[in-house]
């Protein structure tokens, strides 16, 4: 009896056909097995667990820190030329990304800007996972010569001049910044590097602490950026008729079935938060990119990682870093699985924006070309043109609901 009811409730009809009042027999019935239904529900936004705590950032959930972080996120004074803020590439109205293959700050980077929503769930940040917290991630672009292009003492001066009160309310007294050189830090600029090396160790430590705290405030803000519900979520929670059309449902079936997309794009954020070599072609004109093989080493050496002196983590924390896979051929040209929420609305794709459209991405996964280095995990799917169209239709159901725009500020 229960079984019959379950099967009946899982029978769907194409929304359009139903609306047109056609006889049910002419519409293909959509039937999900119990396992398939469990998988579909596991992808829904309401299955997203609460934000994991970040023991390495004691102000991660302090609203005052988030407010400070919000201000810093949009502040162009945190740059070499007074024109670049985090928001320059992470555009709030564009899912916190910038729609171009390679991010542009004071120069041009070698990587595609990643969106921010839901990133607080990710143990490793950047395409190669070279940061292990939102706060240490935020520090990278600040010092990159092609992104913000500035340096640590410059930023400490900005805090002292423009944010003193708000900073001290969250982090306690600022060090005496007047004695620090205006431009100093371990950056590409040789003058700033020389000035940094000339500073007493204790001063450098004090500046590092301010620098880390800038990241921690920005991280507190970024933790408030959460994914918005989509049409797919409405479908996943009820599996009801009339929410997805026939192509979209067929695409979902491919996604969790023949396409094996769900192997890596799993859970409510449609990512396994891991790194995979999927044979993505090397971007022309860019230096050799080792992906996770380089990122794993960088995060281990990063003084701002979870185990470092600027982390607030205690004994027994940092398990992601302590038990990180740091060696092995699988890391070569492996890149982080991106969330597919909103992905259909933000071409171009891949870590260097090498693939211009979603149709090209699906074609890539169907063809499974050999990797330029390392080994691709893909096997050819030989999807038909119809199947590819259906997959793309399904992916568009993961776009944020336009009515929901602005709910969380994006």
């Amino acid at each position: 009896m229960r079984r019959a009811a379950a099967i009946l409730s899982s029978v769907l009809f194409g929304a359009g056909l139903l609306a047109a009042g056609l006889h049910a027999a002419s519409a293909p019935a959509v039937r999900w097995t119990e396992e398939e239904r469990a998988i579909i529900r596991s992808l829904a936004l309401d299955a997203l667990p609460p934000l994991p705590t970040d023991p390495s950032n004691r102000v991660a959930d302090d609203p005052r820190a988030a407010e400070l972080g919000r201000a810093l996120f949009f502040d162009v004074r945190l740059s070499a030329n007074g024109q670049v803020a985090c928001a320059t590439c992470h555009l709030p109205e564009r899912q916190f990304q910038d729609d171009v293959p390679l991010a542009r700050g004071v120069g041009t980077t070698t990587r595609r800007t990643m969106p921010i929503a839901g990133m607080a769930h990710s143990p490793f940040l950047f395409w190669d996972g070279r940061a292990d917290s939102l706060w240490s991630q935020a520090l990278g672009p600040l010092e990159s010569p092609v992104e913000h292009g500035g340096n640590r003492t410059q930023y400490a001066h900005v805090i002292a001049e423009h944010y003193r009160e708000r900073y001290e309310a969250v982090f306690g007294p600022l060090p005496e910044t007047v004695k620090f050189p205006p431009q100093a830090g371990p950056v590409a600029d040789p003058d700033a590097t020389r000035a940094w090396e000339a500073m007493p160790e204790a001063d450098r430590e004090a500046v590092n602490r301010v620098f880390a705290n800038i990241g921690k405030a920005i991280a507190a803000f970024e933790r408030t950026i959460t994914p918005a519900p989509t049409r797919f979520d409405a479908y996943a929670s009820t599996l009801g008729a009339g929410i997805l059309n026939e192509d979209e449902v067929a695409g979902l079936r491919l996604f969790i079935g023949k396409g094996e997309c769900v192997n890596c794009h799993n859970g409510p954020l449609l990512t396994d938060n891991h790194f995979h070599n999927t044979g993505v072609p090397a971007a022309s004109g860019l230096p050799k990119d080792l992906g996770r093989a380089a990122g794993a080493k960088l995060v281990r050496e990063d003084p701002f990682n979870c185990l470092g002196p600027y982390s607030d983590a205690g004994e027994g924390d940092c398990s992601e870093l302590r038990f990180m896979a740091a060696d092995g051929h699988e890391l070569l040209r492996a890149y982080k699985t991106p969330s597919l929420r909103g992905a259909a609305g933000r071409p171009p794709y891949m870590h260097a924006g090498q693939i211009p459209t979603l149709a090209d991405v699906v074609a890539h996964y169907s063809a499974a070309p050999a990797a330029p280095a390392g080994h691709s995990e893909l096997r050819p799917l030989n999807l038909s043109e119809t199947e590819r169209r259906q997959l793309i239709a399904f992916l568009a159901t993961l776009n944020p609901d336009p009515d929901d725009k602005g709910r969380n500020g994006f």
Binding site: T33, E35, E36, A38, I39, S42, R253, I256, G257, E260, V262, N263, C264, N266, G267, D272, N273, H274, S319, E320, R322, F323, M324, A325, A326, G328, E330, E377
Partner: protein, 148 residues
């Protein structure tokens, strides 16, 4: 000793677990798991030098989160093996990849029991966990199958 009941509890605790043998229907998401897969969580090592058992510290074992396991190493007659060295490996045979993390034995819990930290499964499906055990009777290996 791990009873069938505790094994069942583990398996049923895994959300939306695929039971090997029959339930994986046509069109289901993953390559079907071999129907004769040995899902025992306690078994003799390959050369029979030891008996090994594994158990998760938290139940259910969910995809994507870090969790700790205990390994128990005994002689074939059930006496605890102390001071064993245990190497951990594994992966997904049907996907051709290894474990996403590098788990390690972090504590000798006594009585032949050892704590493994840093385990993670980032996908559903069939996983193997390969232990290389080096103890007083020599080196031996054992492979456990897990389906989640």
């Amino acid at each position: 000793m791990l009873t069938l009941t505790s094994r069942r509890a583990l398996l049923l605790g895994i959300p939306a677990l695929v039971l090997a043998g029959g339930i994986v229907t046509a069109g289901a998401m993953m390559r079907s798991v071999p129907s004769d897969l040995d899902l025992a969580l306690e078994k003799p090592t390959a050369a029979g030098l030891y008996k090994a058992a594994i158990a998760p510290q938290t139940n259910p074992v969910s995809v994507g989160s870090m969790h700790a396991w205990t390994v128990t190493v005994l002689t074939p007659t059930g006496a605890p093996i102390k001071a064993a060295k245990i190497g951990i490996n594994g992966g997904m045979p049907q996907h051709g990849h290894g474990l996403p993390t590098a788990p390690q034995v972090t504590k000798d819990l006594g009585g032949g029991r050892y704590l493994i930290e840093g385990m993670k499964f980032n996908m559903r499906g069939w996983w193997t966990l390969d232990l290389a055990i080096d103890g007083p009777k020599g080196a031996d290996t054992v492979t456990f199958n897990l389906v989640l």
